[in-house]
């Protein structure tokens, strides 16, 4: 069991890390740090950096949570720690 719970926790942290990378890139990356550069590209009437800051990042956030919930559900089953 000990080995299993270590593996489960490692896998959990890896998943969290991956989600956080995307989370960081769309908001702090595209929305703030790279926004001035991305603003040279336009998406319809939106400058792209501005779009990420005021629209795009939020859509990605929603998708990320559902992805995380689903992936965690799979991990729970794989390591046999899910709720009955």
């Amino acid at each position: 069991m000990q080995h299993d719970s270590i593996g489960y926790w490692k896998a959990t942290l890896a998943l969290i890390r991956n989600v956080l990378i995307v989370w960081f890139v769309v908001s702090y990356g595209f929305g703030i740090l790279l926004a001035p550069m991305l603003n040279n590209i336009s998406l319809g009437g939106y400058p792209l950096g501005f779009w990420f800051a005021q629209q795009g990042s939020m859509y990605v956030f929603v998708a990320l949570i559902f992805y995380y919930a689903k992936a965690m559900g799979k991990l729970d089953e794989k390591f046999d720690v899910h709720e009955e």
Partner: protein, 599 residues
């Protein structure tokens, strides 16, 4: 029917709806009363969380601030939604598995000390009280317009109604009431946005309208807005950073981790049936929140456009030069909505150059063209908190839409204020009095203490709301900073560090909260009382720490918290073995128990 009559009618109907549902649900089951969300479909639970979360700051204040800040306002949008990702992954499932009711209880048990839980109560009170000051500011705006009275009177009336609402309601705990509040609130926000988006861009979806061309031209709305505001001397709407890139970055961090540390939001995830549900329900909550939050930037830009169109129609149409003598409307020809808002004192006109016209521009911009035209300063002051409520009036939408927005603003302000007051009252009466000082306090005494705590909080918040430290959303941002610097790190360390001991956690919370309060009070006055600012101690320059404004300082406070916690940890013994075992069990979903009954 007159506008005032319709407003009373719509507000009255929505309140009748909430009370009706509350009575119906109360009769149905007592358990539902205590365990919000138990056995409720995750989608409905998500709506209820949305109503809980979206306060006067989100509904009334935020879009107005974005209208003023332009791109810089994005920090509110990203900050108040991105935190849900952290909440869903880092806190919600583990706190749910832990299986207690309040944040101080978790902190107390994990750090095996009543002292830790008392410090957590103090942090919670600091954040929640500040939050309510912001709500009171918003409530004051909503009531002053709704009843046609001054802002000050509006706050007094609001205080009374919030008190009744919080004291007589366990209403707050009833999920279905909050679902109804969510529906009213979101309709009130999106219906006028759809109307206005259609008017300006011909696209019914505000999220797309914001990126579309203006009706009857091939110029994009945002391009046009950029052009008009720069002509009036303001910074470009789509690139106007909030102070600096660093400040904007730190501000966003502060709001995100503050979201994940706010007690009244976290509590929602304690009570879902399973760990699995805790993960998904954060997602549903964010879906319903994002409907408002992706509409808000459209509301902001379009409200700003309509405001400019009202005051300087010629410039927006591109037919006259900015400084042409007839570019601005005459004060005597001002539309009805301006007159209605002048009554509240939140919109002011002062004819500085005596030409009878309204000059609205950035008078800090020293472009000689303004002086050459005989302009002697900006003459129109629009309190940013009125923009959303005034928006449908500015766009000349039908009266029922204006009434609906008033009802939505009141729903947002009241539901969140009531939720916060309940969190404060249970923290004081249960976590502090009963657990620490008076263990033999009767249930009746606990209830009474809770009500007294609520009344005091409303008085304090109302008093400070009269001279608020900032606009509603700005004050609320400070509250998030306080939660970010104190509660969020303590919870993270409790879950993700097996070796963190009580000394480290307590020192961390005190240091994080202390340094953040110091920075905020230096700028905004001791306990937000006007005139007690002590910036002089730090060289007298505002934002003296790398140009970071006080509202954004929570992120720095959180870093201090983590650093102090790890430094102090080394000096004291490791936590006992049963605590390490507790942390390990919290990390695994299996074996979670359903939480039932009262606490």
């Amino acid at each position: 029917m007159s506008l005032q009559g319709i407003t009373y009618l719509v507000v009255g109907l929505t309140f009748a709806l909430y009370i009706g549902i509350a009575l119906w649900a109360r009769a149905g089951s007592t358990k539902e009363f205590y365990v919000a969300g138990g056995g409720v479909h995750p989608v409905l639970n998500g709506m209820a969380t949305g109503a809980d979360w979206m306060s006067a700051a989100s509904f009334i204040s935020m879009a107005g601030l974005i209208a003023n800040m332009g791109y810089g306002g994005s920090l509110f949008l990203m900050g108040w939604t991105g935190g849900y990702v952290l909440l869903a992954m880092l806190l919600a499932p583990y706190l749910r598995k832990f299986g207690k009711f309040t944040v101080p209880q978790f902190v107390g048990d994990r750090f095996y000390s009543k002292g830790a839980s008392t410090v957590a109560v103090i942090c919670l009170l600091a954040a929640s009280l500040t939050y309510i000051i912001g709500q009171m500011t918003g409530v004051g705006v909503a009531f002053s317009r709704f009843l046609g009275v001054s802002n000050t009177t509006g706050i007094f009336i609001g205080m009374g109604i919030v008190f009744m609402y919080a004291v007589f309601g366990g209403m707050k705990g009833i999920t279905y009431t909050q679902v109804a509040q969510y529906c009213v609130l979101i309709l009130a926000y999106t219906v006028p946005a759809i109307f206005i988006s259609l008017q300006l861009t011909g696209n019914p979806l505000p999220q797309l309208g914001l990126g579309s061309d203006m009706v009857g031209s091939d110029v994009a709305l945002l391009t046009k807005l950029d052009q008009v505001v720069t002509e009036l001397g303001f910074a470009k709407y789509t690139t106007n950073t909030r102070l600096s890139t660093l400040n904007m970055f730190v501000y966003t961090v502060s709001l995100m981790i503050g979201t994940a540390g706010l007690p009244h939001v976290i509590v929602r995830f304690f009570t879902v049936p399973k760990v699995k549900d805790a993960r998904a329900s954060a997602g549903w909550a964010l879906v319903f929140i994002a409907i408002l939050y992706t509409t808000a930037p459209a509301v902001a830009a379009m409200a700003q456009m309509n405001l400019l169109k009202t005051i300087t129609p010629g410039i927006v149409a591109g037919t006259v030069d900015v400084t042409a003598s007839d570019a601005q409307i005459k004060y005597d020809d001002r539309p009805e909505w301006m007159k209605r808002w002048e009554v509240t004192g939140l919109l002011k006109f002062e004819d500085k150059n005596g030409d009878g016209r309204i000059q609205y521009y950035n008078d800090k911009n020293k472009d000689p063209k303004f002086a050459a035209a005989g302009w002697e300063g900006n003459e129109l002051t629009v309190n940013r908190d009125i923009m959303v409520l005034a928006n449908p009036e500015i766009a000349m939408l039908p009266n029922w839409v204006i009434a609906l927005v008033a009802a939505g603003g009141l729903a947002a302000a009241l539901s969140t204020a009531a939720g916060l007051l309940l969190a404060i009252s249970s923290a004081i009466s249960h976590d502090l009095l009963k657990e620490k000082f008076m263990p033999d306090l009767s249930e009746k005494g606990e209830l009474l203490a809770g009500k007294i705590a609520m009344a005091c909080s409303i008085l304090v918040a109302g008093y400070l709301g009269l001279n608020p430290p900032d606009f509603a959303a700005g004050t609320v941002a400070i509250a998030f900073g306080l939660a970010a610097s104190s509660i969020f790190p303590a919870l993270m360390l409790g879950i993700f560090s097996r070796t963190m001991n009580k000394e480290g956690a307590i020192a961390g919370m005190l240091a994080g909260l202390g340094v953040t309060m110091l920075y905020v009070f230096a700028h905004k006055g001791l306990f937000f009382i006007n005139g007690t600012e002590f910036l002089g101690l730090f060289g007298g320059k505002a934002n003296f720490f790398f140009g970071i404004e006080p509202n954004a300082f929570g992120a720095i406070g959180a870093c201090v918290n983590f650093a102090v916690a790890f430094a102090v940890k080394r000096m004291f013994p490791a936590p006992p073995e049963e605590i390490v075992a507790l942390v390990e069990s919290v990390r695994i979903p299996r074996g979670s128990k359903e939480i039932g009954g009262a606490h």
